[in-house]
């Protein structure tokens, strides 16, 4: 029997039991849809985080306290600057979410207390006015440099320089406006108000820093420098591992590990649901073989060989599983798009995951359809013709 003929017969069988076929495909639909959606979500989320890390710039070290009891201060930043020659710049920062107000406009953004070195370390560019100076930091001046997004949201494109902003109830004068850096994979480095780090600490009533950024003069020195920085802090706190010193590579590595764990988990979920779907297919195919025992007997009587019957039933199982796969791909893509909209990352359903799901759906069809098809192909023609 030709393949086309086998497909025709299988299609007729699948169509003649629409409801049953639909219910059987559900397992595969759910399996495939969850793979597509979850893979897309994990890709989108990890791309967003990766983008945030990459936006830091290369040759960057990020020093953070391991927990809330550990305090990093401006003195720590200064001592790193003077004692570690491999660092070309050190940028302490104290940041929090705050509301900036101008007239009746108000906008919630990231308030970051920083030092003059920040503009260089983070690759910002001042288009109007100036950045924060050493004197601003020393004298705790209430001045602010605003990012491009804040300019748009708060000042709606009007002249911002020299205007008075209110941040958490305190007045700040805008002395500079930054050039647009542009979205980096979902994060917005332009959604920020920079103020002197000392002013930020006073506003928050603390002497802590949230983070110290440090730029290496050369990437080759990373390992040694990280070790040296660790020693300095070990000595200061009198015990090891009170701060986290991470290079961009390490951060990316951490995200990568997390992503891989996530992928493995998703693979597990997908595997289980496809397994369940496959069992459903096997079950319905066994029913189908039993129901059509007499048909099989007759086909054999008029000359069908084992492989003719095998092909017919395998194709039937494949139709169910691949049909489910296709519906699952559509449903999963839809779901991924919706979730991405809420998550704020760009949804990308990768061609890889579509191919993979399609392939798996097919494999499930063949894998779980094989036993019933073999069973059908081995039926004895006379016994089958007598079957009631």
């Amino acid at each position: 029997m030709s393949l086309i003929e086998a497909m025709r017969v299988a299609a007729a069988a699948v169509i003649s039991n629409k409801m049953r076929t639909f219910l059987t495909t559900l397992g595969v639909v759910i399996g495939v849809a969850s793979v597509i959606a979850l893979v897309s979500v994990s890709n989108g989320a990890s791309a967003m985080i990766t983008g945030q890390i990459e936006a830091l710039g290369t040759n960057m070290l990020v020093i953070t306290p391991v927990n809330a009891r550990v305090t990093l201060t401006l003195e720590d930043a200064q001592s790193l600057d003077s004692r570690v020659p491999a660092l070309s710049a050190v940028a302490p920062a104290m940041s929090f979410r705050g509301t900036a107000k101008w007239g009746i406009n108000s906008y919630e953004t990231s308030i970051e207390g920083v030092a003059p070195s920040h503009v260089e370390v983070r690759n910002y560019e001042v288009v109007e006015g100036r950045f924060i100076s050493a004197a601003d930091v020393d004298q705790m001046r209430r001045i602010a440099v605003i990012g491009h997004t804040v300019l748009g949201e708060l000042f709606k494109g009007r002249q911002a320089l020299g205007q008075q902003l209110t941040i958490n109830g305190q007045q700040f004068t805008v002395v500079g406006v930054l050039a647009e850096k542009g979205q980096a994979m979902g994060t917005n480095p332009d959604d920020v108000v920079f103020i002197p780090v000392t002013a930020a600490q006073r506003l928050a009533g603390t002497t802590r820093l949230t983070v110290i950024y440090a730029r290496l003069s050369s990437g080759d020195l990373a390992t040694e420098t990280v070790a040296q920085i660790r020693r300095i802090f070990d000595r200061k706190f009198g015990r090891a591992d009170q701060v986290r010193v991470q290079s961009q590579d390490e951060l990316l590595g951490a995200v990568d590990t997390a992503t891989r764990t996530l992928s493995l988990m998703l693979g597990g979920i997908a595997g289980i649901s496809l397994l369940v779907g496959g069992i459903g297919i096997m079950n319905i195919m066994l029913v189908s073989v039993t129901e059509r025992t007499r048909e099989i007997g007759l086909r054999k009587a008029v000359g069908a060989r084992r492989r003719d019957i095998l092909t017919q039933f395998l194709i039937e199982a494949l139709f169910i599983s691949i049909g489910g796969g296709i519906i699952g791909i559509f449903l999963g893509s839809l779901l991924a798009t919706v979730i991405a909209r809420f998550g704020g990352w760009s949804s990308a359903v990768s061609a890889d995951s579509i191919m993979l799901s399609f392939f798996f759906a097919g494999a499930v069809g063949v894998g779980f359809g094989m036993y019933p098809a073999m069973k059908a192909s081995r039926l004895d023609p006379i016994a089958s013709l007598r079957y009631e």
């Binding site: 029997m1 030709s2 003929e5 007729a12 003649s16 059509r292 007499r294 048909e295 007997g297 007759l298 086909r299 054999k300 009587a301 008029v302 000359g303 069908a304 060989r305 084992r306 492989r307 003719d308 023609p381 006379i382 013709l385």
Partner: protein
């Protein structure tokens, strides 16, 4: 053409049932054979072995000089496809497929391309007088029509012989007789026909009558004066006509005509 020697068939493992005991039988090309015998005497078993649907437990079966008894499943399938045409008591048509598609079936497994299949199927459907019914599904046909579709299916591959196991068993006498007319015509054209029946009258259409008992051939005789199937059909029609015009009630008419009435056990697969 068909040559059985020492054919036995034993069923069961613990309690053995000897369905056939050392049967020797030759059937030549173009013969018309009726197989009779009480229930359980082994008629169907013998037909299945001759039709290559089943293998004997012992003995050799030569078909056109080829040894069937040693063939594997796929070879048997091919022999069935090319040599034998089966007609069953219960028609065994595929439901939800048109008569024409049902008739095509043996050709599908022979790899005949679609248009050619349709042409051949329509040809045999015309031969059995069902051209107008070609696009109908089995459940839209009477029992007699269904059996004629089944005969068309058996004929479409131009087999060497036709095997019919109680082909009239589920039909009223008139539809049954129509089937017998077909067999007679086919046999005149040179087709070997073997049929199983319980009905002496049906059996007497054949040129040779074989009787089985407990798996043995107890008589194998030529029928010197076979019944003329067409004349028989005429007689049955007349009977029905007289019964109807005499207003003899429903009993006699029921015996003769309405299609579907006798169609209780038979039906689509």
């Amino acid at each position: 053409m068909i040559e059985l020697s020492g054919i036995s068939k034993v069923y069961g493992i613990d309690r053995l049932v000897h369905a056939l005991r050392r049967i020797d039988l030759k059937v030549g090309a173009g013969e018309y054979v009726a197989l009779m015998g009480p229930s359980g005497s082994g008629k169907s078993t013998l037909m299945n072995i001759i039709g290559c649907l089943d293998r004997p437990t012992a003995g050799t079966y030569l078909l056109e000089g080829g040894t069937v008894s040693t063939m594997d499943d796929d070879q048997l399938a091919q022999v069935r496809n090319r040599m034998a045409g089966f007609v069953f008591q219960t028609f065994n048509l595929l439901a939800r497929q048109t008569a024409e598609r049902n008739v095509e079936l043996p050709l599908i497994y022979r790899g005949v391309p679609g248009p050619e299949r349709q042409r051949l199927a329509m040809e045999v459907l015309e031969r059995v007088g069902l051209t107008e019914w070609a696009m109908h599904q089995p459940n839209q046909l009477s029992g007699g029509q269904q059996q004629r579709v089944a005969i068309a299916r058996a004929l479409v591959g131009r087999p060497r012989f036709l095997l019919a196991d109680e082909p009239t068993g589920n039909l009223d006498s008139r539809s049954g007789q129509e089937v017998m007319v077909l067999f007679e015509e086919l046999n005149r054209e040179g087709m070997a026909v073997m049929l199983v029946t319980h009905d002496e009258r049906i059996a007497h259409h054949a040129g040779r009558i074989i009787k089985l008992l407990d798996g043995r051939v107890v008589s194998d005789e030529l029928n010197p004066a076979p019944l003329d199937a067409t004349a028989e059909l005429e007689r049955i029609r007349e009977q029905a006509h007289t019964a109807a015009s005499a207003g003899a009630g429903t009993a006699a008419a029921g015996m003769a005509d309405p299609p579907g009435m006798a169609d209780t056990r038979g039906g689509p697969v």
